[in-house]
Structure formats: structure tokens, C-alpha cells
């Protein structure tokens, strides 16, 4: 329980770190509570206020996390708080009050209020900075570039197979996108090797050898792969993999070692050595 409460508190800090829409929600609640007293939506306001409090307090937040099965992270308990709804309602009420005849008369009051609201919204939002799960920075453009690179490389690989099934072992930047690009490609290990949150979707775990091979492959650009290359080549051969991509930084002796054990010649393609069995 203490761990869960700690997670709840860290989750709250993370959730409010980049943007301040939660603060905007609290301000909206106060505004609506003071200004807008229509009976039929009082239950909505009370509900939102209560749920907001429950999501902020670590003890109740931890209980809500248990309720949502612990499968999901802290931020998902905020699903139960209608944040966008209440904030948008407050904005609509405020604009309706100060600029009722939009866009005609009343602009001297209405326009500054509108601009002020847009300014507050801009400052409360992330101003273009995106944070993914666990708060890490996320750059969709870089990801798109990586995806295109993987697709181009896989298209070259597929030319060598002419319809035969591919069982691939390659660096992470290719393996990550391979199954998305073509669900007919089999992989030695999946994207969950780099994205542990995907492990929640099955009971499967990695064999130690697969982890060692992934580490070895990721180190090839720096080390050339001279250390442990022979073991990996043998393991790959035993696993029945029929397509290997080695980074072009692989040392000559590493490539030679693979050629010797697998009994094939490596072909140079942009960025990689391709070994097809």
C-alpha cells in the first residue's frame, strides 16, 4: 500500500510537471461554484470537486488505482474527473457573460477576456512540449524518421526472400518497426525488449540468451561486436533465424565469424551487413 501511495504521489507530480491544466480545472471549479448556481448541474460540480480531491490525495488516489485494477498508471484515475468538460463549461459561461453579443457589440470587454483566456490556456498547456508515458520527452518526427528508415531497409531485405518467410534478427531500430511494417515477418524477440510496458500484455518472458543477444547487438556500433560474436552466431543458427542484419560498424572479424558459422556470404546494404540463409 505504501508503494502504491508513493506511486500516486509521484504520479501527481509528474502529471502536473509539464502543464497546468489541473490548476485551470481548480480555478474553473471555484468560478462555477461561486458564479453559476444552476440546480441541475450542481451534482456535476460536486462530483467533479469530490473526484478531483480524491485523485490528488495520495491515500484515496492509491485506492482508486486499486479500483482501476493496477494495470493502468496513476494518470488514468483522472479519467473519472471531467477536466475538459468543466474547464470548457467555465470558459463558455465566462465568455457568455462578457461577450453575449459576439461578434457585435461588447467587444471592448469581450475581446480582452477572450485573449486573456487564450493566454491562460496557452500558458497552462505544454506549449508544444510532449511527454509520453513515465514523463519522458517524446519526439514524433524522430520516430517517423526511424520508421521510414526501417521500412526502406526491410524492403531491401524482402527482395532477397521473394515470398519466403523471414525470421529476422536485427538491431533494435529495425526490429521495433518490423512487425508493424509487415506482420508476416517473424522476430527473434519483440518490441517489448525496449518497451517494458508491453510486457503487461502477456505472461511471456525473455530467455536470458535473448537478452544477452539484444545487448550484444546494441553494443555492436561501439564495440564492433568482437566480444561474444561467435556465441551469438551459434545461438542464432540454433534458433533457426534465416535473416540477420548486422550494423555496418561491425568489425571485419565479427562478420567473418558469422559467415563461417552460418556458411554464407554477407552482403552490404545501406547501414548494414545482410546475411540471408
Amino acid at each position: 500500500m505504501w508503494e502504491l501511495m508513493g506511486n500516486a504521489w509521484r504520479g501527481w507530480l509528474e502529471f502536473t510537471n509539464n502543464g497546468k491544466l489541473c490548476a485551470l480545472l481548480l480555478a474553473s471549479l471555484v468560478f462555477l461554484w461561486v458564479y453559476y448556481k444552476r440546480a441541475e448541474q450542481k451534482n456535476l460540480l460536486i462530483y467533479t470537486a469530490v473526484m478531483t480531491g480524491l485523485c490528488i490525495l495520495p491515500v484515496t488516489a492509491a485506492m482508486l488505482m486499486v479500483y482501476q485494477t493496477r494495470f493502468y498508471d496513476y494518470q488514468w484515475i483522472w479519467s473519472m474527473v471531467p477536466m475538459t468538460l468543466v474547464t470548457a463549461e467555465a470558459a463558455a459561461v465566462l465568455l457568455g457573460k462578457y461577450w453575449p453579443d459576439f461578434p457585435g457589440s461588447g467587444w471592448k470587454k469581450g475581446l480582452p477576456v477572450t485573449l486573456l483566456l487564450l493566454g491562460i490556456l496557452g500558458l497552462s498547456g505544454g506549449m508544444g512540449i510532449r511527454s509520453g508515458n513515465a514523463g519522458e520527452a517524446w519526439n514524433p518526427k524522430a520516430e517517423e524518421k526511424g520508421r521510414l528508415w526501417a521500412e526502406e531497409t526491410l524492403a531491401l531485405v524482402k527482395e532477397h526472400f521473394q515470398g519466403r518467410e523471414i525470421y529476422l534478427w536485427a538491431p533494435g531500430e529495425i526490429m521495433e518497426y518490423a512487425r508493424e511494417a509487415d506482420s508476416g515477418i517473424r522476430l527473434l524477440y519483440g518490441r517489448n525488449m525496449w518497451d517494458p510496458s508491453l510486457n503487461a500484455y502477456s505472461y511471456d518472458t525473455f530467455y536470458q540468451q535473448e537478452v544477452s543477444m539484444a545487448v550484444w547487438m546494441s553494443n555492436v556500433p561501439e564495440t564492433g561486436g568482437t566480444d561474444g560474436g561467435r556465441d551469438c552466431a551459434q545461438a542464432v543458427c540454433d534458433a533457426g533465424v534465416n535473416c540477420i542484419l548486422l550494423p555496418e560498424q561491425a568489425a571485419e572479424e565479427t562478420v567473418a565469424c558469422f559467415e563461417e558459422i552460418l556458411g554464407i556470404r554477407a552482403e552490404k546494404i545501406p547501414g548494414y551487413y545482410l546475411l540471408v540463409m
Binding site: 509528474e14 440546480a39 477536466m83 505544454g126 510532449r130 510496458s197
Partner: protein, 302 residues
């Protein structure tokens, strides 16, 4: 409080029924070990029956009311100068977001394997026959509560029916539908919150749209979900089902509320069916009951 159904109600009810249909087709495949192509067929047949039923009901209703097939009198473009201007702003906002999503270059895929799952269903012609991340057989299997969630089958059926690539269907088409449904849900809420003023409803929708843009800064916010991962069950729940459910709570439409709770259980891992929808329904109903009780007591006191 208005209890009548709008176009948004019909759209969202239709989507919830489609989720139910996909769930039946999915369970058909999971528990009877049937090929995926057969599940798609089941889905198509059930969806056609639903569509025919909805069409029949609409025809009967129109006949009974003696109306002809025409747009409602409060047409979208009706209204005064200010409303038309607000409608224009809202249109630009929605179209901008649709273009942004349909470009398909901003899909947040961390912690998600929907595309691989849909691809593996189509490739192996079976539901969870192979591990979607490797294409090989499962070593230990998959939790049953995850296995019965129907969205991959729904998306796979879309791919099958319209001959689409899983990436296109999951990252581009479905998020656009989610975005439109999100606005439909907020439109229902707008009708509850501001029944007297169309201008306020439009302002409310514009404010919600701006909040979606501004709130796209962190994983877990509504804006992030709608703009970067509109295919996920959590996004559909947070941005479509829950806002719609809140509007149903305000209108006291109990049966539709139950349908929303059930739809959530079909697309998100919940505590034996008790997800956020159940909590929201109970919370709103309970608070409403207490408020009514209090008003009654204070009335008796006078």
C-alpha cells in the same frame, strides 16, 4: 433538461452497439477457436442486422410522425450572425485536428501493440494464435481479461472489409472517428449544460477543442489521447464514452448509461466490469440523489 435524442446521440449509440457487435464476434473467435475471417463475417452479419433494425425503426418513426425525409428545422447552418461565425471557428478547429491526425505521423505507440495485434490476426487468420510482437507462438499465453477485449477484432474487421493496411486503419482512420465522436459527446453535454443558448453550446465546443490542443502535452490527458492515440481503448473511454455517459447521467437515461458501462468493459481492462464508467454513474447518481433528498427535506422544513 432535454431528454430527446440528437444526431450525436444516434451516432454514439450506433458506435456503442458496434462495439457490442465486435465483442460478440471477438468472443466467437476466442472461445470457439474460429478463424478470424469467420469472426469478420459474424461482425458483418450482426452489423447489417443492426443497421437494418435502425433503418426500420427510423422509417416507422418518421411514418408515425408524418414527416418526410428532410433535414431537421434547426439545420446546422441556421442561426444568427454570431452563431454562424462561431460555427466557422469550430469547423476550422475540427478540420485542423482531423488533418493533423489523418496525416498519421504522430501516433504514440509506446506501451501499445494494436497495429501488430491487428496485423497478426489478419496474417494468421486467428485471434491471438501468435504473439503479435514476434509472430511466433506464445510461450506462456495472455491474460484472459485482455484476451477478451474486442478492439483489435473491430479494427481487423475494418481492415478486412475496406482492404486497409492495419497502420492506416489504426493510426489514421480510427482516431479521426474517435475525434468526431468526442465532439459528438461534448455536443450532447453542451445540450445538457446550455439548453437555452446555441451560442453558448458552440462556445463550449470551441473551448473543449482548444483544451484538446492545449492538453496534448502529456500522456494521459484527453488532448494527448485524441490527437496521438485515438485508437486506444482508454482514449475512446475517456474522450467519447465518459463525456457521453455524463450527459446521460444529467438526462437520467439509465439504460443508455448501462450500455456505456458495458461498452467500457468491452474495450478496457476493468475490475470485473466496474470501470471508470461505473464509478462516474454511481457518483453522479448518488450525488444527485443526496441533493434531491436535501431539497425535499428543506422543503418539508418550510
Amino acid at each position: 433538461m432535454r431528454k430527446d435524442n440528437s444526431w450525436a446521440d444516434r451516432l454514439l449509440t450506433g458506435e456503442i452497439l458496434l462495439i457490442g457487435t465486435a465483442q460478440i464476434a471477438h468472443l466467437w473467435g476466442v472461445f470457439l477457436h474460429r478463424p478470424f475471417s469467420e469472426c469478420v463475417l459474424v461482425f458483418i452479419v450482426l452489423a447489417a442486422v443492426l443497421l437494418a433494425g435502425a433503418g426500420g425503426l427510423a422509417a416507422v418513426r418518421l411514418r408515425r410522425e408524418g414527416r418526410s425525409w428532410e433535414l431537421p428545422d434547426k439545420s446546422i447552418l441556421a442561426g444568427n450572425h454570431g452563431e454562424r461565425f462561431l460555427l466557422l471557428i469550430l469547423g476550422f478547429l475540427i478540420i485542423g485536428q482531423i488533418i493533423y491526425i489523418a496525416a498519421g505521423s504522430s501516433a504514440y505507440r509506446q506501451g501499445d501493440m494494436t497495429v501488430e495485434t491487428v496485423g497478426s490476426f489478419l496474417q494468421s487468420n486467428g485471434i491471438y494464435q501468435v504473439n503479435p510482437l514476434t509472430g511466433g507462438a506464445y510461450r506462456e499465453g495472455i491474460p484472459l481479461r485482455l484476451k477478451i477485449l474486442c478492439l483489435p477484432t473491430l479494427y481487423g474487421a475494418i481492415c478486412s472489409i475496406f482492404r486497409m493496411d492495419p497502420r492506416q486503419a489504426v493510426w489514421q482512420v480510427v482516431p479521426v472517428i474517435t475525434l468526431i465522436s468526442c465532439y459528438a459527446a461534448y455536443s450532447c453535454l453542451g445540450r445538457c449544460l446550455f439548453p437555452e443558448s446555441r451560442k453558448k453550446r458552440l462556445t463550449f465546443l470551441i473551448a473543449a477543442g482548444c483544451l484538446l490542443w492545449a492538453g496534448s502535452y502529456v500522456y494521459g490527458m484527453d488532448g494527448f489521447g485524441v490527437l496521438y492515440s485515438g485508437w486506444r481503448g482508454l482514449t475512446i473511454r475517456n474522450c467519447v464514452i465518459l463525456p457521453y455517459l455524463l450527459s446521460l447521467c444529467l438526462r437520467k437515461k439509465w439504460f443508455s448509461m448501462l450500455m456505456c458501462v458495458a461498452a467500457e468493459a468491452c474495450i478496457v481492462w476493468t475490475l470485473y466490469g466496474l470501470g471508470a464508467g461505473a464509478a462516474v454513474s454511481l457518483g453522479m447518481t448518488g450525488i444527485g440523489f443526496l441533493l434531491r433528498h436535501r431539497v425535499k427535506r428543506s422543503g418539508e422544513g418550510i
